[in-house]
């Protein structure tokens, strides 16, 4: 029995949890799967490692819509997931007392699409971690990858691998990976001329098939009715028109301004590998620099775009 399952069993009983959301071994290799534990004995199947890329905070808002009860919910969180939970509490999506936040140290999660790109058609059946290496194997092949090559883009510059707010923390806090500067990609991108930048976004967002997987995977997207689903009035067309796709992605990014925790759930969910992170990251930077705000760090600070200061900069107003 690992430290994780042992401690969670104790927490489950001590806190009288009704349900606990965590990860179990997935049916596919290198894919941890969310699981729901309803009794302490069940906790044996829990795992946590670099294969657990889902943001579990999503399930907290999903539940709210269907359940009217006040169940006590435990949730196993990485740094980014914890920030999403905190942000949801700040936005009054559920009561703080009903949630038990269990932090775990995160050493970065694997982006399945990066692995897919490296393996092409080969299918893996087994894997193991060896320090900073991942050894994957399948029929007639074995390959070793550097873990950093396979980590999600957000993880490479992650500053908060441990939950900033928690009730319990299991394990020793992890060091930030920070193998590259958080805004390096943005600085690089901003050097390009405007038309080239616009072309890039047209190319990326043009791939969109409007499946809304990015929205559905996002823990912060919990509106009862999304603007893209409205028909009275119908704000934007539902088809494959480029302009509609662009507006969907810009407005989605705007709705997440000052709320996004950069967990990468949207990027991981996208079946077409659209670069949904770039614009969000630029907005995150603007919010951080202009309003000195980082989402999901504490329970008191209101979200940047839901508040104001009288002396906010207004150099852009004519």
């Amino acid at each position: 029995m690992s430290e994780l399952t042992e401690k969670i069993k104790k927490i489950f009983t001590d806190e009288k949890l009704d349900i606990l959301i965590g990860y179990e071994k997935g049916s596919l290799p290198l894919r941890g799967t969310p699981c729901f534990i309803e009794s302490a004995e069940d906790a044996d199947k829990l795992i946590f490692d670099s294969t657990c890329h889902n943001n579990l905070a999503k399930y907290l808002t999903d539940q709210k819509k269907t359940e009217v009860d006040a169940r006590k919910i435990g949730i196993v969180v990485k740094g980014c997931d914890a920030r999403a939970v905190v942000q949801l509490v700040v936005e009054k999506q559920f009561e703080r007392e009903n949630i038990v936040i269990i932090g775990v140290p995160c050493k970065g999660v694997i982006d399945p699409s990066k692995l897919r790109a490296k393996l092409r058609d080969k299918e893996i059946s087994d894997f193991r971690f060896d320090g900073n290496k991942i050894i994957v194997s399948g029929e007639n092949f074995q390959e070793t990858f550097d873990k950093n090559e396979l980590l999600s883009d957000g993880c490479l510059s992650c500053k908060y691998p441990n939950a900033p707010q928690y009730d319990y923390f299991i394990g020793d806090p992890a060091e930030p990976i920070a193998s590259k500067d958080e805004y390096a990609d943005i600085d690089e991108f901003e050097k390009k001329p405007p038309d080239e930048r616009w072309e890039y976004f047209e190319k990326e967002y043009g791939k969109c098939i409007r499946c809304y997987a990015c929205r559905n995977a996002c823990p912060m997207c919990y509106c009862e009715q999304c603007f893209v689903d409205c028909s009275m009035p119908q704000w934007i067309g539902k088809g494959g028109n480029l302009s509609d796709k662009m507006i969907f992605h810009i407005v989605r990014a705007m709705h997440l301004a000052g709320r996004c925790v950069d967990c990468g759930a949207c990027a991981a969910a996208c079946p077409l590998n659209i670069d949904v992170r770039l614009l969000g990251k630029r907005i995150e930077r603007e919010v951080a620099e202009r309003f000195d705000f980082t989402a999901g760090m504490d329970f008191e600070t209101p979200p940047a775009l839901a508040t104001f200061r009288e002396d906010d900069k207004q150099e852009f107003i004519m």
């Binding site: 810009i250 705007m254 614009l279 202009r290 009288e310 852009f316």
Partner: protein, 141 residues
């Protein structure tokens, strides 16, 4: 493009800027006829989606105008709007949109003269930019 006359959508808040436009009218102050006005209760009512929608529908520029900071009829609507617009403007600029197509101003009910200056200036800048191409909805794309 010297004969290009831009179409500019203007969102005016009911309490200040709309009254400012009214004052410009009753004072017979001249300004370019390129704007179409939508009256909104407050500049805080303007959703970034409205602005994008205008650009999609073929407007060459969008102006949002509200009460001066501190003068909002709803106390803080324009302060919240200011944060929202700051982020939107930066996001559009980052994407490669001409930042001057989307403009914001504060015009009070007593500033008929300023209203006419703002409209002239926006019209001039957008005219210089030429017709909007980015984000415009075209059939078959």
């Amino acid at each position: 493009m010297s004969d290009f006359e831009p179409k500019i959508m203007t969102f005016l808040c009911n309490w200040c800027s709309y009254a400012g436009a009214d004052l410009a009218g009753v004072s017979r102050i001249q300004y370019p006829p390129n704007t179409r006005v939508i009256r909104v209760p407050c500049s805080g009512r303007v959703d970034p989606l409205f602005i994008l929608k205008c650009l999609q529908d073929g407007y060459d520029g969008v102006l949002v105008s509200g009460c001066h900071p501190g003068d909002c009829h709803y106390i803080s609507g324009n302060y919240v709007a200011r944060r929202k617009f700051a982020v939107l403007k930066k996001a559009l600029e980052f994407m490669g949109m001409e930042p001057d197509r989307v403009q914001f101003s504060w015009v009070s009910a007593g500033e008929g003269e300023k209203f006419s200056q703002v409209i002239s200036k926006v019209t001039e800048t957008v005219k210089a930019l030429g017709p909007a191409k980015k984000l415009v909805k075209r059939i078959g794309r």
